[in-house]
Symmetry: C2
Subunit: 447 residues, 2 copies
């Protein structure tokens, strides 16, 4: 009977456990998790902070299984690949036990970066917060209840979702971003403008191309941004995350620039040890270069692949596109593949097609603006990326572009793709087809 | 200066006019249309009957253009290909004029089939109706206002949308369908059951595998269905449409089994004469055999292709999938490609994968059931069709499957496709991926 251990029960570890069970019904699975509860939905936390759903609802349980041992409130201390064993510490009792494995899946995730801001570490959890688990969400909600002003560091998806959430709770909110525009990993500047406009319409202050140099307190009373002092009661650090690699590194597993290195079967440099999710470095499905893609959907697929392989099956992970959607206020923001800027910095000559339209005919109830941008290789027309911003249907359209990139499709084929029409649901000629048409015309002009 | 004539201003003729203008800014365009108004949205009519939008809102105008002559209330009587001329009759004055063309686009559409039911023709527009233009929609609404009961003949999308509309207006409604289940061209029986259940929940009576043999009246007071007599005040015939081919046929243009024959440039058997939309026979994008696909989205693309070619450009239409969505009550119903039954009758050995899930996590506001079915070739895994039924997101997912079929993708690739996740918008592992996973497992078992 195979003994398979999973370290970390999240978007990678959970599907791994399902895939193991499917591949080998007899395998014994041990799951090691630091939390005192099974699972939760990290991406739901900003909406819980906003009050749309209760924080409790974000918790859910792994289905019970006699062949599975769950060690909650346990921490993997070290891996001994030679012995195929793990030293595991009970966070309740301090006791350390040794667990043997035939296969091991590392799904240790990532943790928030604490930027080198004076006063950040000192005031952590006392006016300065990161959002990284349910407890931290709870602390933010509690502190926000007694605060009038908040500064969010970082205009990525999580930073912006939290900014909206705190604004909706009645706080004055400012967002400080080092880079020149919002969502710089997902969007180009022209598309980011749509998001920025909507945030400004909500009276959220955006301070771009600036860094917070110090957080002043305790108690936190202001931040210094360049020459300016901004009064605030609390600071949320949403400046990205870093992969949790120490456990793997100390076991001698090869680490890349972004995280634990894996092959296409999600196996690390040590045979029988797999790694998935936010702790790994993956490859881009577009140019097959190493990249980091800390998204739940990617972790899920990686988990399936690792679980299948760890249990003696065969599956591969081809690489990540970074297909993503976020709800920022009333705007769905979707992106996949390369932004125009990133594509150019990766050596591509690009064209793009952009169209603004409605998700359904203007005269039907629920008709909303939607803007689609498609980025493609200027010589071949091959689609490299897509961005969609609108009140409804951005995620739906980004999935179509995601599949188009995956299949190696060019803009002409995308423009010809048959999209379903019904006035209550969609336009007769979708804005996505139109954006592709515009890209086709640029391609033809270039020839 | 090229003279281009378009006969019929609808989902095919309209984009043709845009494409002509784009390809040749100097071309003179003449549009011949029987209606007294520019354009309208036929697919919106059931929702106008229901009262969701006003019938007036379905009308809209072609943008003005000095180089375009619109002949409303005019009917093309005959085409003389040798002379490159058309005899056109003014429906207002009866006057007949001759119009010369360099290129001609036939977009004459289709008209409702009147099934050979005793009493159908005799009572037309007097208790028996078809829905084929705004005037007919108006007549149905008026008659329904004085009716208590309605029988709809045909359980296709239009029949079911009208059935729901009349039910919502307070009538008792029964639907009679010759075939064994609802939406037989779009769905397999198992998926149709979901739609039928929802209609039955609305107290709409479904009578399957039966034909109406006579409509009794005037005034219409009942229909005879087999042995049964069903009392009714009105009957809606929604038993399909037939292509308007007479004009083309009389001009000597080749006609196929389903409509006017065209090549991949949308050109008919006579050089310089193109045809698009509901009046043509097209080819299936899956097996490249002749088929009929009377959908607005297909017509739109065909219109672009014909317009571009008619104006001296070059574009091709690859064939149709029949990607479709409909809103039947509170259910979005989407379909693309072949149904399982149709695939089998076309010679394919098939597998299918079906998954039921939620459009977004269960604990988030707006979480709704959704069921996805994928049909694939049993030997190669190549996707042949998809069906999605749910309160929200069916159209969005059917577009992804549509693109997967177009790109020749197999179920394994579809299962690996990265779909965007955000709890407010989508599940972390989409039901579409799951359906593909199930199909993959059947494929593997078969090997």
């Amino acid at each position: 009977m195979a003994k398979i251990v999973i370290i970390g029960l999240g978007s990678g570890g959970f599907p791994a456990s399902l895939a193991i069970r499917r591949t080998d019904p007899d395998a014994h699975i041990t799951i090691i998790e630091r939390r005192s509860y099974d699972m939760y939905s990290p991406c739901g936390m900003p909406f819980a902070i906003e009050g749309i759903i209760s924080l409790d609802k974000l918790r859910f349980s792994l289905p019970e299984d006699k062949q599975t041992t769950k060690l909650l409130e346990h921490e993997a201390q070290s891996i001994n690949p030679a012995e195929k064993s793990i030293a595991v510490k009970s966070l309740r009792t301090g006791e350390i036990i040794t667990i043997q494995y035939d296969s091991l899946i590392i799904a240790t995730g990532a943790q928030p970066l604490i930027p080198p801001i004076k006063g950040a570490k000192e005031n952590l959890d006392k006016g300065v917060f990161t959002l990284h688990d349910l407890e931290s969400a709870h602390r933010i909600m509690e502190y926000a209840g007694n605060s009038k002003r908040a500064v969010v560091v970082g205009a990525g998806p999580i930073g912006l979702e939290i900014a909206v959430a705190l604004k909706e709770r009645g706080l004055d909110v400012a967002v400080v971003e080092m880079l020149p525009y919002a969502l710089p990993r997902a969007l180009d500047k022209d598309m980011a403008k749509l998001v920025e406009q909507s945030l400004e319409d909500r009276q959220i202050k955006l301070i771009m191309k600036k860094m917070v140099s110090s957080i002043n307190g305790p108690p936190v009373e202001s931040v210094t941004v360049g020459e300016e002092t901004i009064e605030t009661d609390m600071v949320i650090l949403a400046a990205g995350v870093k992969a949790n690699i120490d456990l793997a590194k100390n076991a001698g597993i090869e680490i890349g620039r972004w995280g634990i290195k894996t092959n296409s079967r999600m196996e690390t440099s040590i045979k029988g040890i797999y790694a998935v999710g936010d702790c790994i470095e993956t490859v881009s499905l577009i140019n097959h270069r190493p990249t980091v893609m800390q998204l739940s959907s990617a972790a899920y697929r990686q988990g399936i692949v690792a679980g299948t392989n760890a249990a003696g099956g065969y599956d591969t992970y081809e690489g990540a596109l970074g297909t993503y959607v976020s709800l920022i206020g009333n705007l769905e923001v979707g992106a996949t593949g390369f932004t125009g800027d990133f594509a150019e910095s990766s050596g591509y000559m690009i064209i793009s097609g952009k169209a603004r339209g409605k998700n359904k005919p203007e005269y039907y109830p629920g008709s909303k603006d939607i803007t689609v941008k498609i980025i493609a290789d200027a010589r071949t027309g091959r689609i490299l990326g897509g961005q969609v911003v609108g009140e409804e249907g951005a995620g739906a359209r980004i999935n179509v572009i995601s599949l188009a990139i995956k299949s190696g499709m060019g803009v002409y084929s995308l423009s010809q793709t048959e999209m379903a029409y019904c006035p209550m649901v969609a336009e007769s000629y979708d804005v996505l087809n139109k954006a592709a048409d515009f890209a086709v015309r640029k391609l033809e002009k270039g020839r």
